[in-house]
């Protein structure tokens, strides 16, 4: 899903409404942009029910001191540890019952820490693995931070591209 920076909060709310409420899914939220605690705070303000949202936080550790252990949060030491992100998602896929949405927020922040080759490989394996497990995968891409390489990468693994501004 392509979003503009200014639409970030609206996109988050829209996503949670569409998938968690309407489709009755649990969410695995991979965050490499903002620490999970900050997202939790925002979601609380937006009055979004949090009991079915599980975070894979790969940014707090490298921000030194923001990785506070809390319920529903698994930490990955660095966004460069892509295999560990896959492992944490796999763990949650096994631990949580019912259908799931896996939200990757965002491909642009992962691209800051990883080269295109390894990131493409990661996406390819992650998305196909989740597809086989019948999970929905939603990849956020911020328009202002995107590039041709990122667009090509997303084109390879995504079934559909949603432009949030258009669909709003």
């Amino acid at each position: 899903m392509v979003i503009k920076v200014d639409d970030y909060l609206d996109a988050m709310r829209g996503t949670m409404d569409a998938f968690l409420l309407e489709k009755d899914l649990s969410a695995i939220y991979i965050t490499s942009t903002i620490p999970s605690q900050s997202i939790k705070n925002v979601l609380t303000i937006l009055e979004i029910e949090m009991s079915r949202i599980y975070f894979v936080d790969c940014i707090s550790h490298i921000m030194m001191g923001t990785a506070v252990r809390s319920e529903h949060v698994s930490f990955v030491e660095s966004p460069t540890m892509l295999e560990n992100i896959m492992l944490k998602v796999e763990y949650l896929m096994r631990s949580i019952e019912g259908k799931k949405l896996v939200l990757l927020d965002s491909i642009n922040s992962l691209a800051i820490h990883n080269n295109t080759k390894i990131l493409s490989e990661f996406l390819h394996i992650l998305v196909n693995n989740l597809r086989a497990k019948e999970a929905y995968t939603l990849i956020l891409s911020v328009e202002e931070q995107s590039s041709e390489e990122i667009s090509n990468m997303l084109g390879l693994v995504c079934d559909e591209s949603l432009n949030f501004t258009e669909t709003k």
Partner: protein
């Protein structure tokens, strides 16, 4: 043929010991060929004991009597330190589906508390382990670690003799065995004495891989007699739902490095 046994046969009709570790069974094309002696080798902190213990737990849960022989530390202490698996149940110990023994207890029962073993001592130890396996109808055995036993054997001839006799004895009893082997970090061979790796039917190498400052736990099946298998490197995580494996991403490889 009972249903449980039917499930253990792969497409080629060979009998497999399903480890219960999803990723590993896939790598091994259905599990370890039954009766194989497999060396799980790696330096400290790579997950050898945890992986081996999970192999036994799955066996015990699926009604295969499983035996853990602890060489280096007291088994009760070991149990406290392994990952608290969601599927671990104390009743497995009480019902003797899962049996934990300290090798020291076997040594003292046999009167073998000495610094160096003779060939006769080796025969006695192998026979004692074989007797326990037969008496309790053990189908899965882990010895943690073989390196500590080899330390008391001193010569390569004795080590070869010990592992060969043990492997033969267990294979005849239909028991699939994991020997945990300790090596130093950065070691080029797969075992401390260089003999263990040549004799074992299989070698699973566990390691710590450093990549751009990150330390990843990896697993690679180097050899496994009796089955086709992947030889690629996988990254693993030790979790409460068991050992999880994903392929090592290769896009980040550096020339001459990993």
């Amino acid at each position: 043929m009972p249903e449980a046994e039917e499930e253990e046969l792969n497409a080629a009709g060979e009998s497999r010991c399903i480890t219960g570790i999803d990723g590993l069974d896939r790598i091994l094309n259905g599990g370890i060929p039954r009766g194989n002696t497999v060396l799980i080798t790696g330096s400290c902190g790579t997950g050898k004991t945890t992986l081996s213990f999970e192999f036994l737990l799955h066996g015990a849960i699926h009604d295969e009597n499983s035996l853990f022989i602890s060489v280096t530390e007291n088994w009760e202490k070991l149990l406290k330190n392994v990952i608290p698996y969601d599927f671990f149940d104390d009743s497995l110990l009480k019902s003797k589906k899962l049996i934990m023994i300290d090798l020291g207890a076997i040594y003292s029962k046999l009167g073998l508390e000495k610094a160096e073993f003779t060939m006769e001592d080796i025969d006695i130890i192998v026979r004692a382990i074989g007797d326990i396996v037969r008496e309790w109808s053990i189908k899965r055995l882990v010895i943690d670690s073989i390196t500590s036993i080899c330390f008391q054997l001193k010569t390569k001839e004795k080590i070869r003799d010990f592992i060969l006799s043990l492997g033969k004895n267990l294979s005849e009893a239909g028991c699939t065995c994991i020997l945990v082997s300790e090596i130093s970090p950065g070691e080029q061979s797969y075992s401390m004495y260089g003999v263990e790796e040549a004799i074992a039917d299989g070698i699973v190498l566990m390691a710590n891989l450093q990549r751009r400052g990150d330390l990843l736990r990896t697993l690679q099946v180097v050899k496994m007699r009796g089955t086709m298998h992947s030889r690629a490197k996988y990254v693993l995580d030790l979790t409460s739902v068991g050992v999880l494996l994903v392929p090592l991403l290769k896009g980040g490889s550096v020339p001459g490095g990993i």
